[in-house]
Symmetry: C2
Subunit: 147 residues, 2 copies
DNA sequence: TTGCGAACCAACAATCGTTGCGAATACGGT
DNA sequence: ACCGTATTCGCAACGATTGTTGGTTCGCAA
């Protein structure tokens, strides 16, 4: 996702207005690597701007997604997560606490895929599921530090 | 997923009962590669056994998932899809019609992953998104047959 | 500076997918 | 055949998200 300033310009360029609410959301999302849900963003925004409505948060998130500035993730049942990282990356999901982290994968082009059968692939998403270090040690993992 | 007969035995073995409703679901799911939603399964089951409740369908699907006989997929926002294919495979999702297909990927072990940082990976899901042959030709794709 | 129209909020209703609850029913070990 | 208990079903409730409406504010281009 671009900087709040650049987003403001981009919004105006397509006829959308730059409101204080949107500016708050821009800055909350900028370089945010927590993969927050809409609810979490609304909570954080409410701390800065009490009274901001959840409806407005959804609206702006949707705008950003359709502009390609934000990626919407559906990695688990339940609420969607939003990712301002628009570089070519993939995700790690902790089955224990639900934490999501970015990872970078190289060599994907070399894998063999069988069964494409005329299907045209536009994007490839890789999701690694497992346990984050915290959850690994909490469940008595023998290979974890100070188990 | 195992055969309906094997599932019946497995259900009894863990204290679950084999009801006519469940038998219908077993046979509908056996070797089903359509990745149906709960709703779709309920619809198909209703054709065979009118009056079967959606509640029962969900319950049995959840049982099968926790037994590891069925995989629950959350590839798109909206309803979950169920996959009785328990072999090591991955998925193709058509952005146009929502169709899901199985694909087999080899060479995944050779990719380089950067950013794991102590995370323990238990499973890797690869999702290829794009257009199925039907949707490709429908959208006027130059490389598709008889555009 | 002014004016148009977009965006805001509030309050609600509605949708969709899924699960909780409770009374009636039926599986299946003995 | 009996009985305990899992299962069934219908309905209500839930969480996430979106639609609506109406009144007010306010960004921003001219």
């Amino acid at each position: 996702m671009r900087t709040p300033q650049e987003l403001s310009t981009a919004f105006r360029a397509i006829g959308l207005k730059v409101t204080p609410q949107r500016q708050v959301l821009f800055s909350l999302l900028h370089q945010n690597d927590a993969h927050p849900s809409a609810e979490a963003i609304h909570l954080a925004a409410s701390a800065v701007m009490p009274g901001i409505s959840l409806r407005t948060v959804y609206q702006t998130l949707n705008d950003l997604v359709s502009m390609g500035e934000l990626q919407q993730l559906q990695l688990t049942p339940g609420s969607a997560r939003f990712d301002p990282n628009t570089t070519d990356h993939h995700h790690l999901v902790c089955d224990g606490c639900g934490e999501i982290r970015d990872v970078y994968v190289s060599g994907l082009a070399d894998v063999d895929v069988c069964g494409l059968d005329g299907f045209r692939v536009a994007a490839t998403d890789v999701v690694f599921r497992g346990s984050c270090p915290t959850c690994s040690s909490a469940t008595g993992d023998p290979s974890a530090p100070h188990a």
